[in-house]
């Protein structure tokens, strides 16, 4: 029954803090923020758990990719978030490591009238470091750096702007973001 444990113990406060962390990360692409309070089942990182608890509910269809699609995770998500589990094409959020999420062209990129009807990918990473790919664009004063799993996919996604998916990277209790508006070089 571990599926029922590991939610926020003080949901209003912890969810507000996690939301703040995620918002800061999204507003300042590449910046690494802490998000805590969740104890999800393996293989999820605490950060990915906190992101799910904060952003997902019965109205945000979730796609579990690769190893995350296991019964402890499915049960935990169902109890704590209530998010319906769906195929990649129908997802508002998708969770997995970068390899498991391929091909990312499956995910919703929004429509010209409603660019917000797009997917947010939660990419589990072995580690998060402020080095590697160079990031430019809104929310970045000069340049930022992040150890992205690859470059090309994010450059292609940037070319779709204002359509495209947004990405959160999680590792341990850390989160960083790459919104569709960021140029990757």
């Amino acid at each position: 029954m571990s599926a029922l444990a590991g939610g926020f113990t003080d949901a209003p406060v912890e969810a507000a803090r996690a939301f703040r962390g995620i918002m800061e990360a999204m507003a300042r692409p590449g910046r690494i923020e802490m998000v805590a309070g969740a104890v999800p089942p393996a293989p999820l990182s605490p950060a990915a758990g906190a992101v799910l608890l904060t952003l997902c509910d019965p109205e945000t269809p979730l796609h579990l990719a690769g190893e995350t699609d296991c019964s402890p995770v499915r049960d935990w998500v169902t109890f704590h978030c209530g998010a319906p589990l769906v195929a990649a094409e129908a997802a508002a959020f998708a969770l997995g490591d970068w390899a498991a999420l391929q091909p990312v062209s499956r995910f919703a990129i929004g429509t010209p009238d409603y660019p917000d009807r797009s997917a947010t990918l939660i990419v589990e990473m072995p580690e998060l470091l402020a080095e590697g790919a160079v990031l430019r664009g809104p929310g970045i004063a000069d340049t930022a750096a992040l150890n992205l799993p690859e470059i090309e996919a994010f450059q292609a996604n940037r070319r779709l702007f204002p359509l495209g998916f947004d990405v959160l990277f999680t590792s341990g209790n850390r989160v960083a973001a790459l919104p569709r508006s960021t140029e990757v070089g």
Partner: protein, 358 residues
């Protein structure tokens, strides 16, 4: 020219304080409790729940108290509160056929299983002011009778058996939700019904009346009007089955309307439908008439250009919170906009005066 101004904070604070005092009224008169409003102003509570789109009698009563009895202001308070709630999910569609009916009448069939049950209705009162109530007299206990064990099926079922009325195609598909996605046209019937269920009673009453007077006439009979309590059932993922999570009072109206048939359909009766939180039969009947009028296009009827048949017109103007928000905002400062208008009119006048002089 753009001038930013700031100020009025002290005036606003004083206005709030005076508002609170005016709300309380004469302190020599006993204060109203929320429970008193809930129990004794129950039809106002019902309207605030229906148009506030949130079933919670205590909250609606509080909103009415806070709004000093201004029901649209109270509905605004309910709408604002509901946006703060996490949504646990959606219920299974309520089974109105299983309703515990306080009232159930049909204007089309005299003798029907379950009978004509009047319930606590205003219909046969004389509309004379009752000065006994001014003396705060208690009510006599209502008479009682042995309830009949028979079921109270929907009247429409009888017409269905003969094939004289269109059948509703049952569907459990997740309906669109205009509290989550902006209204888009064309709007299908589930979306229209949601908009009408939370729409302004006065607006729907006026539109429904216009169809009776000939603007998009479709000649409605009240096939059935029922009012009572229904259980609300929801699937609970962690349990793996559905449970009842509460019960709601509902008013339901089904109309039978003439339809002469079309190229593809033989002559038969068609239906209009109204379903509203609480006791709200004027609203439920109005909703059913407007629902039917909005079906003109899908039924292949001649569109007469009547307002009640115009989906965009009806849906865009039915919501009293949207309407009052836009209407009332024009009393707030528009100094800059007006300054521009003023200069334009002065310029035009100057031009006219010059021409006249030449």
């Amino acid at each position: 020219m753009y001038v930013a101004v700031k100020g009025g904070e002290r005036a606003i604070e004083a206005a709030h304080a005076w508002l609170a005092e005016e709300r309380r009224g004469d302190v020599e008169v006993q204060e109203l409790s929320v429970a008193q409003i809930r129990e004794q102003m129950s039809l106002a509570v019902a309207r605030v729940m229906a148009e506030g789109s949130l079933y919670d009698p205590d909250l609606a009563a509080l909103a009415i108290k806070q709004a000093r009895g201004d029901l649209i202001e109270a509905i605004f308070l309910m709408r604002a509160y509901r946006t703060t709630l996490p949504r646990f999910g959606a219920s299974r569609p309520v089974e109105t056929g299983d309703m515990a009916c306080d009232r159930r009448i049909s204007a089309t069939f005299k003798d029907l299983p379950g009978g004509q049950v009047l319930g606590p209705t205003f219909d046969y009162t004389h509309r004379l002011l009752d000065f006994k109530l001014a003396a705060e007299g208690g009510a006599e206990p209502a008479p009682r009778a042995e309830p009949a064990p028979e079921a109270v099926p929907h009247v429409m079922g009888f017409l269905n058996q003969e094939g004289l009325i269109e059948t509703e195609a049952s569907s459990d598909a997740a309906p669109p939700d205009l509290t989550r996605e902006p209204l888009e046209l064309p709007a299908d019937r589930p979306l229209r019904l949601q908009a009408l269920a939370r729409g302004d009673e006065g607006f729907l009453l006026g539109l429904a009346y216009s169809t009776q007077r000939g603007y998009g006439r479709n000649h409605a009979f009240v096939g059935e009007l029922r009012l009572g309590t229904c259980a609300v059932e929801m699937d609970i993922p962690e349990l793996g089955f559905a449970i009842e999570i509460g019960e709601v009072e509902l008013t339901e109206c089904e109309t039978v309307n003439q339809f002469t048939g079309s190229k593809t359909e033989p002559p038969q009766f068609t239906r209009g439908y109204g379903l509203v939180f609480g006791r709200a039969e004027r609203k439920a009947i109005s909703m059913a008439l407007v629902d039917r009028a909005l079906r003109a296009e899908e039924l292949g009827e001649d569109l007469s250009g009547a307002p009640a048949q115009d989906t965009e017109f009806v849906l865009a103007h039915a919501d009293n919170i949207q309407a009052t928000g836009f209407l009332e905002h024009i009393k707030l400062p528009h100094y800059v906009d007006f300054q521009a208008e003023l200069e334009l009119v002065r310029k035009l006048r100057a031009g006219v005066t010059r021409e006249a002089a030449e």
